[in-house]
Symmetry: C2
Subunit: 448 residues, 2 copies
């Protein structure tokens, strides 16, 4: 079969691939389609993993009425009308201990010293900030300055003795208080399924007492390199040989994206050899990637191998993108098999385009904004209409006072060696409808 | 000492802190200042680490002259003047094997079949793409179509027999060839010190045969929580108690940023207890973070403890930012000690502002663009002039056809509970010079 009879646009090719995949491929032990395969792990080790279930609050937060300020717990009605010129006077009956239920109950005309986060005592319904108060304990010589500024040292001193407190500002019922469940109600959905766990999610889980959590299992991604010229990186190449790069760049991409890389090694350009290696990888993994040798014949061999592995086989052979035209997308018995070009830059760029979305689908990951930087393009870039181009670019700080503070410098490399990408900060997409981009245009660079 | 006598702008506060730190703090075993403390690790495990030395190419890439296309190796002068109407005829003398030195030498009028990535045979100086050739082997019935389109199957067939090849396009000396060292010259700097290792860097290292690499050691960051109301997340809070969040959010942030988190636990609000815990952490770590209980008195206690730990002690106490005003920045005997507010959102936002830059300095990390998304703000946000505000925002897809495809929705929360941040995609900064932002403005959201 000739190569590239029809070249699909990359977005359409990706949709075609994903439409054939369930959330996670079936396993011999679990033939259920469309569910996330999960495992329980400790929350302290969950950074970067994806939640496999919706998380609901087992209890309200806060679990008790708390003050949000340092000051005095009061009955709001006792402060009504209080001002600088006409303060209210309240009797201090004690201090709320941190971390405990206050054994106090306010009656009319009484107040209690309370610290941020402390539990509101019975009878109180608001808190006056310490800045708007003054202790009139006989031994207390603090000035009542213009802004009623109190230091924390004053504040601690003011509790000495069973003094009266001057209140210079009235508070409304509920002021400076968070009620039970005001932040999170009991049974509220707090973290939806498919959320990537960041530091804040770890904190939220801890706040609710979850020390372990159900996360999506890491999809296993089998990596096969082919090519008679390809050798292991630990070996010294003879003339004509090159070291294997793709097993490692793609393996790192898989790990970065939430998968587990399984390297099967380098296989020679023989149909039977490649077929057996691919069949083994497919039986052990959720996704198999074959990076073909560079020549056209080995690329075709990859497609032929995918056809033998299972139904429906090859879905897309040839994508209208640069780099990456020879990319092959297939599904065999519910698992994705992707053939990538041997060129390291093509392989990695197409890994971002096609491998990462498959891993995200298996993980049940919610769609999230891609990390980007807006920058000013430094040169004209031409592109063939209908083809989507991806350019590695370097971001260079130009003008820190401007909203667009970076210049985007495309990296030109005759042979697309891996160092073209290693020195890049991101990738610039030229849309298939465009015939290029002009120097000075503001472009969106996807960070890699 | 009263709190917040002078509130520094956050950028100035950060510069002050970093100016007191060497690349990495001195250790009992190594008093050298200003160098990166490194360790050797396998490249396959180096994703996300930072290179500790400049990496130079030990040999050129490619190491032999290679073709970038499938086609015929030729002597360029033999093709001069060749065209569709007047082809050149060259005698096919063999095929270049992949991964080996070709045992061929071209004489005038000869060519050799060669596959992408193959080594150029002696005598050849260019390669003609297969698309511009045709085999005129007597047994070969392939059409020479309009675009000279050849399939790879044809291509393999064409080597059968010792045939002549028609060449329909001339090539220049060096065309479709990469010369030795054209990508990377021997001893060229390929990855500078302080580079974060991404998939492409792993590939670049493998291409040059580096299977292990010197990376910066992970800075150890000691985490101390204080507050009589704070309990371990595995415990069930009684009324008045809350679970420790900050040790875990900040620990995750430290790990995400390239550091190693060391949790020392929760300590009561007593000067001597906190001082001993902080001194122990400082002796074992490169950076110590104390998240204070919420009340003003425990915040002051943190500053007093930092003053006892070493010189110069507290550098900044109070920063003109929201959240995070009570943040304390200190350096004790060459190591950073940072006091963060007890409020979980304040603690984490200020972790991004002050802890991450310290870790990056210790790692010797090169400055890189922050991951951002440009979005349209949905509401007015007011801010106090002179103060820098940070708002958690959610990014919502609005119009995928527009350059600005996201809306930025600030998340309002009375108490800054951790779930305010857990549901956020990023942080929005309001510059100290601004008095707010208007609905409809295009803003830059820093992804978290």
């Amino acid at each position: 079969m000739p190569e590239f009879l029809t070249l699909l646009p990359p977005d359409q090719a990706r949709d075609e691939l994903l439409s054939h995949l369930a959330l996670r491929p079936p396993t011999p032990f679990d033939q259920t389609q469309g569910r996330i395969d999960s495992e329980s792990i400790e929350v302290v080790h969950a950074l970067g993993r994806f939640t496999a279930v919706d998380i609901f609050a087992p209890h309200p937060l806060p679990g008790f009425p708390r003050t949000t300020v340092d000051g005095y717990a009061v009955r709001a009605r006792d402060t009504f009308g209080a001002s600088d010129s006409l303060p209210a006077y309240l009797k201090l009956i004690g201090e709320v201990p941190m971390g405990d239920t206050p054994h106090l109950e306010l009656d009319a005309g009484q107040c209690a010293l309370i610290h941020t986060g402390g539990m509101l005592p019975a009878g109180a319904d608001a808190v006056v900030m310490v800045e708007y108060t003054q202790s009139i304990n006989p031994g207390d010589h603090n000035d009542h300055g213009e802004e009623h500024k109190k230091t924390s040292v004053d504040f601690v001193v003011s509790v000495v003795g069973n003094s009266e407190i001057e209140i210079f500002k009235s508070v409304a019922d509920g002021e400076n208080i968070i009620h039970i469940g005001e932040d999170v109600a009991q049974n509220q959905l707090v973290i939806p399924k498919g959320t990537k766990i960041h530091p804040a999610e770890i904190g939220g889980l801890m706040a609710l007492g979850f020390t372990s959590i159900s996360v999506a299992k890491k999809p296993r991604v089998g990596l096969i390199s082919t090519g008679d010229e390809v050798i292991d990186p630990s070996q010294t190449p003879r003339p004509g040989q090159v070291r294997d790069i793709n097993s490692y760049t793609l393996g790192a991409l898989v790990e970065k994206s939430g998968g587990e890389a399984v390297r099967y090694g380098i296989f020679s350009d023989q149909f039977q050899v490649l077929k057996e290696a691919a069949a083994k990888a497919l039986s052990e993994c959720d996704l198999v990637i074959i990076t073909a040798g560079s020549s056209a014949s080995t690329r075709d061999m990859t497609a032929d191998v995918i056809r033998t592995l299972g139904e429906p086989g090859v879905l897309v052979h040839g994508i209208n993108t640069r780099p990456g035209k020879p990319t092959i997308l297939g599904v065999c018995n519910g698992k994705a098999v992707i053939g990538l070009p041997g060129n390291p830059v093509s392989a990695l760029v197409n890994g971002y385009l096609f491998v990462v979305p498959v891993i995200e689908k298996y993980l049940g990951a919610l769609a999230k904004p891609k990390a980007t930087v807006m920058a000013k393009l430094t040169v004209n870039l031409s592109s063939q209409a209908g083809r989507e181009d991806w350019w590695p670019v370097k971001l260079v700080v130009s003008d820190q006072s401007s909203v667009i503070s970076y210049l985007a410098e495309p990296i030109f490399g005759k042979s697309n060696l891996i160092f073209t990408l290693a020195s890049a900060d991101g990738l610039l997409r030229i849309h298939p409808d465009a015939t290029g981009l002009s120097a000075g245009e503001i472009v969106e660079v996807i960070l890699i």
